[in-house]
């Protein structure tokens, strides 16, 4: 893991890439949602994934997290093949993600939601619940402390005990990030974490992502439509269109690539 002194992140490679996709292909009927995607995300990198709506960004995340296993190709996490593994097993191996349209557990407090992020580190069993004082209290307290760290980190103290249904959307997005960070993942996938946010909230979120990488040693795969965010905080990026790769590399270069501009803004504008 990076120590935080190497801000460029991506250059270092102590134990190979965190995530590697090898010619991943996913079809839905006749539609090719992902067509031969190759990518490598290095340890400590913030990796951007962009493309117009329906280009396969979310399908790629779903392929990685096990919801839509690819029909062809391999996905390696820290060198282990995770292709076709069930989502909860992928989570146990250190992948955490947030959703484009929030997937918090309503009816629970912010604290309980974040505690659920610790599920992979806890031992849930009937016996432990029955013998709480002897079998579960230590585990619960230890993980509560870890959760409080994340709450501190994302400045969620004021809403800790609130029901998650009742807090504003910007905070909900932060709680979801907290839940993902609480799992201490090696790969964090953020699916449009800034959708629907104003400039100030966006800046906060960008800062949290940078800090998460630097202080909590996570590698980030960031899906985002805001190009300023991608060029601002990503080390490398990949642009998709119709399920195919149309550009990858340093953000400033990729967004200037005529093919990317054409995919995003359309041929007429790209021509001038």
């Amino acid at each position: 893991m990076t120590d935080g002194d190497d801000k460029s992140g991506g250059a270092r490679n102590r134990a190979g890439p965190v995530l590697e996709c090898q010619s991943v292909e996913r079809r839905f009927g006749g539609i090719v949602a992902l067509n031969g995607i190759d990518l490598q995300i290095q340890r400590g990198e913030i990796f951007g994934l962009v493309g117009p709506n329906g280009c396969g960004k979310t399908t790629l995340t779903n392929a990685i997290t096990g919801f839509y296993p690819p029909q062809r190709g391999n996905i390696l996490l820290n060198g282990h093949d995770i292709t076709g593994l069930a989502p909860h097993k992928v989570a146990r191996l250190g992948v955490a993600r947030t959703f484009q349209n929030l997937a918090l557990f309503n009816g629970m407090s912010v604290l309980d939601n974040i505690l659920l992020g610790r599920h992979v580190h806890m031992h849930a069993s009937v016996l432990r619940t029955a013998g709480y004082w002897w079998l579960a209290q230590g585990d619960e307290t230890k993980n509560r402390a870890a959760v409080e760290d994340v709450i501190d980190f994302l400045q969620l103290e004021s809403v800790r005990t609130e029901l998650v249904d009742g807090i504003p959307i910007g905070l909900k997005k932060r709680v979801e990030l907290a839940r993902a960070l609480a799992a201490e993942p090696s790969l964090l996938i953020l699916d449009e974490p800034m959708a629907g946010m104003n400039q100030e909230e966006k800046e906060y979120m960008a800062r949290f992502i940078l800090d998460a990488r630097d202080e909590r040693n996570v590698t980030v795969l960031l899906i985002e439509h805001h190009m300023d965010v991608i060029t601002g905080i990503c080390d490398r990026m990949l642009a998709l269109n119709y399920g195919a790769m149309i550009g990858s590399g340093i953000p400033a270069e990729v967004v200037a690539d005529p093919r990317v501009v054409e995919a995003y803004i359309g041929g007429a504008h790209a021509a001038h």
């Binding site: 069930a86 959703f99 557990f105 629970m108 309980d112 659920l116 849930a124 009937v126 432990r128 029955a130």
Partner: protein
């Protein structure tokens, strides 16, 4: 008004995560436990063994159903059948000479095994389809119990349950049986309170709320649904055995028929999904309200000196009781437990209502 929360500060996580972090709550629970423990001293045997005892056993049973319905969010229309499995298992074990303490554990385990084998198949479908397949469990169990003489003791048979013996001592007094029911109810309640603050309970709620989001944080939905079915079946099985041992003293298939399943469901829904105190209210309401309605109506007719026909007298309480259930659920869909919570929240800050969020 009830009590003040101001000034109660917890300085470590163990305190913050205590079952009742607020001292006033602890006093209240202590008081209730004291009242419950001394009930045989001040209640006559009719109230003790015909009202309080079944209420406690049914509360334990309702909590078991609440585990699967309120926590894990899975419908179960065959809950009484699972209680029946436990009841028959315990009675047969006792008749074979197994001590009662072991017989009820066997009852719980038998119910848990049959319940989870069934769940293993049924959990492949969701929602209404699951509800219907659990109804199938009810009918399969009804049929099996009544058609296998080795279980039921013959068609239309009533199987006498031997007396409860704890550590070799026969428990036959009203107070003794009441204490057995009380201990079981307290044990189940404690388990449910612990469920609310441990990883298992949170995982079940995650499965209930969004199973894809549960998967993403590493919760294996199928496994936890199975655990929920097994645990709830265990509680159902023991509750069925305790109900037979302390209340019915004999077991027949009709005690665990489909109407009883619906009644258990009503207890949980009227009481409040996912509410522990609600299960107490729900079980009390469903068990005691019809009788209370009856006496209320005969008191009314006596008071105003008019007489009602036999037919009206028989149906009126049911109609009113049904109307009351609908009324309560309209007022608060989360049931009596939530109504209690609302009143409590209101009184906590009274008369400074504006403090409420």
């Amino acid at each position: 008004m009830l009590f003040r929360q101001a000034g109660i500060l917890h300085t470590n996580y163990a305190q913050d995560r205590a079952l009742f972090p607020i001292p006033a709550d602890r006093w209240m629970i202590g008081g209730l436990l004291l009242l419950a423990a001394t009930a045989p001293l001040y209640l006559n045997s009719l109230y003790l063994s015909s009202y309080l005892l079944p209420w406690l056993v049914w509360t334990a049973a309702a909590l078991g159903l609440n585990l699967i319905l309120g926590w894990a969010g899975q419908f179960h229309l065959g809950y009484a059948a699972v209680m029946g499995i436990g009841a028959y298992a315990a009675v047969h074990a006792q008749r074979a000479g197994v001590p009662w303490e072991i017989a009820i554990v066997l009852a719980g385990l038998t119910a848990a095994v049959i319940g989870s084998v069934f769940a293993f198949a049924a959990l492949r479908v969701k929602g209404l389809y699951l509800a219907l397949s659990t109804l199938a469990l009810q009918f399969v169990m009804d049929w099996t119990i009544s058609h296998v003489p080795a279980i039921s003791g013959g068609t239309q048979a009533t199987l006498q349950a031997p007396d409860i013996r704890l550590l070799g001592q026969a428990v036959t007094s009203d107070a003794g049986l009441y204490y057995v029911a009380l201990v079981w109810c307290v044990l189940v309640t404690t388990f449910m309170l612990n469920l609310r603050r441990t990883a298992l309970g949170r995982a079940l709620v995650a499965v209930r709320e969004k199973d894809y989001a549960a998967a993403v944080i590493g919760v294996n939905s199928f496994y936890f649904k199975l655990v929920a079915f097994a645990t709830s079946s265990f509680i159902a099985g023991v509750s069925g055995a305790v109900l037979i041992g302390t209340f019915y003293h004999a077991v027949t298939p009709e005690q665990f028929s489909v109407d009883v399943s619906i009644q258990a469901l009503a207890m949980v829904i009227v009481g409040g999904l996912g509410s522990i105190i609600g299960s107490y209210f729900g079980a009390g309401f469903i068990l005691l309200m019809p009788g209370a309605m009856n006496s209320f109506i005969s008191w009314l007719t006596g008071l105003f000196g008019f007489s009602l026909g036999i037919e009206t007298l028989a149906h009126l309480p049911h109609a009113l009781y049904g109307a009351l259930i609908i009324g309560f659920l309209l007022l608060e869909p989360l049931g009596l437990g939530k109504i209690y919570g609302n009143v409590r929240d209101y009184l906590l800050v009274w008369p400074f209502g504006y403090v409420k969020k």
